[in-house]
Symmetry: D2
Subunit: 491 residues, 4 copies
């Protein structure tokens, strides 16, 4: 297992092609717009101190029995799934931002089970490939990105019906030694600072889309891969000298998403996990999405812990912490946070074993989790901004705070309760701003899928027929054949 | 273990004093206002058919190793707690109403742990009493009510400060062989059709309230106990001949609550579990409330399953089931229901062992559960009434439906889709009315405590100091001594 | 103008055929299930005391200049519309229930404008008929019901496509002297105690539905009309001797809805306002619905005033009125109520003159009004039940309260603050139960149309094209022809 | 009246001291961080084109009868108040941001009435001063800022109890020719680009706070005034060359708030409107706050119009505009927006004349308006981010879009529907980001006062006693003297 320092050092050896703000960034490790995301991801490498083993952050490989970083493991029991959620909450409480590494973990786990099932049905060898790759990851502790979202172009059209055939990542050539792929993956969290990327198809597909039914892993600095790093809310502040206005100077905000372009990238067969088995795309999406949606009640509750703490601190600083409406709002925030956490825990504890022997979350409850997140995080932000006060929208800059001419006015007039340093009040205000604005909210909405995607999955799994029977039984309805026939016609 | 029939038969032997609508009800077992609640409670006696054992509804006594009705067990593991939630959801899916028996179960469990701790601290013998009583209950499978809520009079005053000293149940005499108690317990679900009642103090208390710090068990037909059965929404319909308008003819609605008056009731010492140890009242309330709040994401989700099924059926009957807004609302209802379920599961899975060796739910998450219930059940009702249509508020009576003169008009004009029997549409409408109105909603609000009680408990357990530290660490705030002192002054 | 007494007396002369609970009710005026609704409607006849004129409740006829009951007037100015809303709120504050007479008023106003426009387009004489009828109503002060909702059968089918042709009211014969109609109108508020009924088609229609495009007025006791009075939540309590459990003993709850069957009813041509002009059905529905939706922020805010007052009184009685969470909830209730009121006022003040010279509400804002009502009334009910406490679901009956044996226990244990009569606390509890349960909520959801109907109208009127232009202008987008073409293809 | 160009030109003559990011900004008019706010304010100077008069944006002075910019008028009728709301919505539809000038308008109106009442009570001459100043403003069309919010230090302490006496703006010297004031006003919208500033006390005050009871007007470039311009979300983007990432390049976002420091500023008596009359502070705050809260259903609905249009455009661009959930969300957004608008209209139409002869909004409904805004704007933002998709959080920069190397990838992979320019999609995305994030939301929460301030005012005006009487009357409660006495004790 790597340490945090080894992880950062390992990135320096990568030749990943990264662009940001129209420039090629050679040394992305030390670039101020990117470094905070690296710091955040590095927290997943905190697996123990001074020779001690952290039992939460590490586990034993079910393949080799060796101790590995938990982020490289396959979930074999509900307890594993629960430990995942708790690890995510714990790290988020430290990072205050996305630490990115769950997505590759989820990709590995989704592919582990699905490749097994493809092989069973088709006589292919994808699972063998996946297991070999998994051993490599467990052994090297490399960070892998998980990539599902295609650009999609016109969303009302299937991959093969797009005007531009590259709007979904696809195989353009099948060679003896491997495949060549073209297209892109969007919104790729942590792509720039991952060692590997694991690509999967982004939706259910039909026979015409067979070339789009492709899953594989490849190193991020493979020839033909180009990362274009996206903008975030207040991303310019990351470039500033003072850390006062950054909100979360060390770890940034959200995940550092990038567009990852695949310009005819070669992938050897041993790294290919699906290549044409379109009928398994829906299953793979469902598996990956469910594992990924499970997470959000972990990490987002961790972030809400910080936000609640920041609001409570702000109230202390401003002399409002005894007001009943402040107490009420902090309690409500805790309620909203813990509700998300409950959902993550529940879908984990209720995990079941699938054909590959691995443990899969309860997919209905995993979708419930994420749908709550798309609402609760916004209400948390609203309450936080209520408690914090208008000051978070009008705070002057760190340059003003420290200005020899006018710094004294900022010091004087942005002070709260006597004895509290003005800078501390500003820092807490900026943290609240960071956690409740822009990119942070959008990520809670669309990360791991948009709300409508959850609703489709909930509708599919809510067992409406069983529920109808419960109701008609209780209502004393004995359906005649005619009634049953009439209903069958209307449904 | 008793069967359903044996349970009903056993009630006929009880001499419980029951009043309803100003009349003494001698044969309460066959009284149409009460019988549905008995039918509902009887479902907790469905522990197996034809010699087969139902592993969910029964378990092994941790005291004797014998197989017992699960509703008489002490939870020893998180799995026990989870089985409880699943049993509650399962029974609720059959009953469509409260089956009442969880409350006595929770009383037994709360007292099991707390008597142990009192004994440890005080050298008393309450736990021994409790264990003996538990063995009796496990052996006989008697149904026990759990009673916590006092009338409370002026809610701004402590028990000992009330104008009427009987507003909280209290000890009026301590005799050699036992105690004499006076007062009442309110809102007692299932009291009339329980064999036993287990009383507990209803709040934290001080030294002046020592006589109010009393817990005990006694048979429901003990001298001095009087039940006054309350009214429910549409309770008169239970007295009607036709079952069409009843909504849930067999099992009624909610729990059949009664005021239970204790007019100088004698309780032998061996049935006393607390008598003066006021400093443990808060703990007992917290334990009981947490166990009880755990339940609501079980049974209420079971009820929501029926409600969703009823709404889907109504849509089929009316020809609206293909409308996108109907599908969206059914999905939302499922989301609201499963969110409650997640919370119940989470607080169960996260249960921990307490001093007595028993497993206690996570109290924070149990309170989160119930707070969600006080909101989600209402929104479920609102959506149900949206889907059902105005017809559920204007349906004519069963007498009209069957009237020789005008029955034909009711048949004709309340018909939905061709081929569906009008009576079936009415029955489903009445079931929706039953599940989304009046008493059913109030119970979701106040059963196991009112929302404010949850908020107080959440506020107490939300670890605000830890959260503040997370925030200040992340914001880069190193608190000076002066800052720490200033904050200490403001909090 | 009639007085309240004259109104009640006038009903005794009606030969309306009324059925309730399977029985023909000859003297419906004094029937306890119906009388409260008559009392409620009678409040619309409170137009002045002792010779004084109430300027709010009366106005001058724009046709004759004579003083008339406002409920028989045509709105000619925005001020008229505003006075309507204020009159509705004022009466609701007294009745605590639906007083029914707005619906006929709205029917008259909707037909006034639409008949004018039909005549303009078609050369018909409907407006002349309507004006003559209006003069008759203004002169006699007769109460007219407005009837739009057909049974509808299978809601996915048009009138002419139903298996049963009578699922929508229609013309079965056109005679020289008039038309004969068959079918029914559902959910008819106040039908039993109206003198007249004004029928309108219930939706937009096509050429095949021409016989269903029929509007007319007829006296309620015309041959062939049969009323079947529906059930309400707790309707049996209206039959009880004591008024303690009734909640609102004098005025009942909601509107006393009935199914009104038209069994080949003859209507003379002079009372016909539409007979085949199917292309005007949509317009008529929009006009009627908008006028009717305007009302709900008037009357429902009046009801919310009572509910808030009842909750505040209950808090006083229970000793909780100083708790901050109670104050917060009462304030929130007021916020929810006044928001509905604001919407009603706004759509009235923004009324504009239509072709007939009459003033029409802003239809977009009228729909906004009602959509808020379908949400806010439910949240008001939820908060009321929160404040009131579980007691409203478990209160014993008035028979218990007054029982010589056990009345003393009810008196003692349902008492609140010392000095408050227990009966008063029960009465307030029952009023809260009445206002927050069952029928009262359903009426807020579906009266004047279901939420989806509002959404359809809002979507149609929200000027999306204009809004898109605002956005593209601001974003600096100059659309190329190609872009415009692409967008045209996608919309 | 000035034209837009004249307004901008007039600012060049101002010597206002402005700091931003630690630097003195001499030419603030052309500074890219400030200019958008000037452009926005300039829209209030669009009073007619080519000699034509815009009747909406201008009116006749009630003092002189001359035509004046409406933003300098005193509201004399409800129609004036309604025109205000419509003007605000109309301008906001153009600016997409705060145009700042309502706040000085509200200050003038609040002071107009209150100075009249002070003079009546105290025999002072403040109203005369105010009228003279008003004539000057009407004549010159100068833009005045309205300043109420003090820094407040420890919010649990009164002005005179603060550790630092300058935490509230106060009189430090009373001279023969005027007063000298010290302190600051926070969150001052439009301060930098106003000609004048009108200061008012920020809360109710007691006798000890008399020196804090000070109201006056002064030019923004008076000696001793220093502006420190605050940061906004993404404020750095305003400094970029390309306008693609700015969202709203021309008009910025929100209002350009500044801290305005008063370092011993001299104000001549003729510009003083209150100096010690502490007992009128509460009234002035209520007046100003009510006038100011009235606005938010105007301007924020205007902004929501743009946001809805932007989301609809984004859906067109992405091929999702036919999805039922998208239509539903757009409709809901319209509902949320129009609800705010209804409230603003209602509090305006219901305005009443006060002692000075001016028309005052309904203060209860004005507070209802703003409280809805503090919720609806957040939900609008949430729905907008839902519709827009994750892309708004991960869009690359304009530099990337136009880069010769990688621009082609951005062009290709951020394209939506065929035929739509990628840049157009990005522009709409950035506009949605701008309108739904950070500062824009915070302003909706705290501008014109925080939610708790509205709740306090609603609670004060909701006539609870009247509502209680309505309830007890209806419940049939005739209160005994004893009951009345008991209730008086509990309230």
């Amino acid at each position: 297992m790597m340490t945090q320092d080894e992880y950062v050092k390992s990135l320096r050896d990568m030749k990943t092609v990264v662009y940001y703000r129209g420039k090629r960034i050679e040394n992305f490790v030390d670039h101020p717009a990117i470094r905070p995301h690296i710091n955040s991801a590095a927290l997943t490498y905190s697996t123990g101190k001074d020779g001690e083993i952290d039992e939460n952050r590490t586990t034993l490989s079910h393949l080799t029995g060796k101790r590995i970083n938990r982020f490289t493991s396959i979930h074999m029991t509900p307890e594993d799934l629960v430990m995942k959620v708790k690890a995510l909450r714990g790290i988020a409480q430290k990072s205050g931002s996305c630490f990115q590494r769950c997505v590759g973990w989820d990709a590995l786990n989704a592919l582990y089970g699905v490749t097994y099932e493809i092989d069973q049905a088709k006589g292919t060898k994808y699972h063998e490939n996946l297991v070999k790759y998994l051993l490599y990851i467990q052994d090297t502790d490399r960070m892998a990105d998980g990539a599902m979202t295609d650009p999609k172009g016109d969303r009302s059209l299937a991959p093969s019906k797009q005007a531009d055939p590259d709007q979904f990542l696809h195989i353009v050539e099948r060679r003896e030694d491997g495949i060549v792929v073209r297209g892109a993956k969007q919104h790729q969290t942590g792509a720039v600072n991952s060692h590997e990327i694991i690509c999967m198809p982004g939706g259910a597909m039909g026979p015409d889309d067979a070339d789009y039914a492709v899953a594989f892993a490849i190193q991020m600095d493979a020839p033909g891969i180009i990362c274009i790093f996206g903008r975030q809310t207040n991303d310019d502040r990351k470039l500033e000298e003072s850390d006062v206005d950054k909100g979360n100077a060390c770890f940034g905000a959200v995940g550092g998403e990038a567009l990852v372009v695949f310009e005819d990238v070669f992938v050897p067969w041993e790294r290919v996990f699906m290549a044409g088995e379109y009928e398994f795309c829906g299953l793979l999406v469902e598996r990956f999405a469910s594992y990924h949606r499970q997470n959000y009640g972990g990490c987002k509750t961790g972030l809400s812990d910080i936000l609640i703490g920041a609001c409570a601190t702000m109230s202390d600083y401003q002399g409002t912490s005894k007001a009943s409406h402040i107490k009420e709002k902090l309690t409500e925030m805790s309620h909203l946070g813990e509700t998300m956490y409950c959902c993550s825990l529940a879908c984990s504890h209720e995990g079941t074993t699938n054909a590959s022997g691995q443990c899969f979350v309860d997919p209905l409850l995993a979708n419930i989790t994420k749908l709550n997140v798309t609402r609760n995080v916004f209400e948390l932000g609203r309450l936080a901004q209520d408690i914090a006060g208008g000051v978070i929208a009008t705070l002057p800059s760190a340059e003003d705070l420290n200005d020899p001419e006018i710094g004294k006015y900022v010091q004087k007039y942005f002070k709260g309760v006597e004895g509290i340093a003005t800078e501390d009040r500003i820092r807490i205000g900026r943290l609240i701003e960071n956690l409740s604005s822009g990119t942070a909210l959008v990520e809670s909405m669309h990360g791991a899928g948009s709300p409508q995607a959850m609703k489709v999955m909930i509708a599919r799994q809510m067992k409406l027929d069983k529920k109808k029977r419960l109701a008609t039984d209780l209502a004393g309805i004995t359906e005649s054949e005619e009634t049953a026939a009439a209903k069958a016609r209307t449904v």
